[in-house]
């Protein structure tokens, strides 16, 4: 089946996650072969997903973990409340 760009965009996230059925995947792949816009949209979306997963983007505040465990300490005492 021939599908248009908007149809591809609707499924980009599912496509990246491998969550589209074989028939739709084949239609999308066929479309991507000849559509440089959708290819670039797919590549850029996938790249954004990869980049934001990097631990350097979101870092915990300095000392967060120490303060958390310090606060837990009295709670964890045998008679802690």
């Amino acid at each position: 089946m021939r599908i248009d760009c908007e149809h591809v965009w609707d499924h980009i996230s599912a496509y990246i996650d491998g969550d589209v059925d074989a028939a739709l995947r084949a239609d999308i792949n066929k479309h991507l072969e000849t559509c440089e816009i959708c290819s670039a949209v797919l590549d850029s979306t996938r790249n954004v997903v990869v980049l934001i997963a990097d631990g350097r983007v979101f870092e915990l505040p300095t000392g967060f973990s120490d303060r958390l465990h310090k606060r837990l300490e009295p709670v964890l005492q045998p008679n802690g409340k």
């Binding site: 965009w9 949209v41 954004v48 505040p61 303060r67």
Partner: protein, 209 residues
């Protein structure tokens, strides 16, 4: 349901903590700290509040540990406690506008068409050494509507699966997918043109000085 690779460690830890080895709780909660904090900052939008709520969450997890049944992953259960803690605080300060309003605001508002490009060269993760790039990504995520940000945070940043994300957020798997799709579309639209500046400069297409 697939078990997390550390499910056995968790189950053993929980058993021993409940039997009195309370100090083990430090190790049990440690792998969840990041997700707790980022989910809470996504709900509360304030570092100090998120940190305090994260500490409260950890305490509640400890005190309610006997209630964990193991029918979801431990982290998922912890995150649903974090979410309740966050939403409870919003309710108190009357800032609640997220989940309870979902039904009213609908999920169809907004334009989710992508930024149209004709070519894309991958930005390598190395580029994150540049603080500016990480800042751009953070800013874009922080600018997302709450319901989309939470979905992208758990799925793409904490890398939880659809089922676990749905359980933690108290929504259906279908909603997770829709929200994630929209979040990614909004991020692509906001970021694609800006990120191009971080593409490696090389060869024929390079735009070296």
């Amino acid at each position: 349901m697939t078990k997390a690779p550390n499910a056995e460690f968790e189950a053993d830890c929980i058993r021993r903590i409940l039997a009195g080895e309370h100090q083990l709780f430090h190790e049990l909660i440690r792998p969840c700290e990041r997700a707790i904090y980022f989910l809470l900052i996504s709900i509360l939008h304030n570092e100090a509040d998120a940190e305090d709520a994260a500490q409260e969450t950890a305490i509640k997890v400890f005190r309610n540990l006997q209630l964990f049944r193991g029918d979801s992953q431990f982290k998922t259960w912890v995150l649903s406690i974090a979410r309740n803690e966050g939403l409870g605080r919003l309710r108190k300060t009357d800032r609640l506008r997220e989940d309870s309003l979902d039904a009213l605001t609908g999920e169809d508002s907004g334009d989710f068409t992508p930024a149209v490009l004709t070519s894309w060269r991958e930005i390598p993760a190395d580029a994150l050494e540049k603080k500016e790039l990480a800042g751009l990504l953070r800013e874009a995520i922080e600018g997302l509507p709450d319901i989309y940000r939470n979905a992208v945070l758990l799925r793409d940043i904490e890398e939880m699966d659809v089922n676990e994300t749905a359980t933690a957020l108290g929504i259906t798997e279908g909603s997770v997918k829709v929200r994630l799709h929209r979040a990614r579309a909004l991020l692509q639209r906001k970021l694609a043109h800006k990120l191009k500046a971080f593409a490696p400069k090389r060869g024929l297409f390079g735009r070296g000085k």
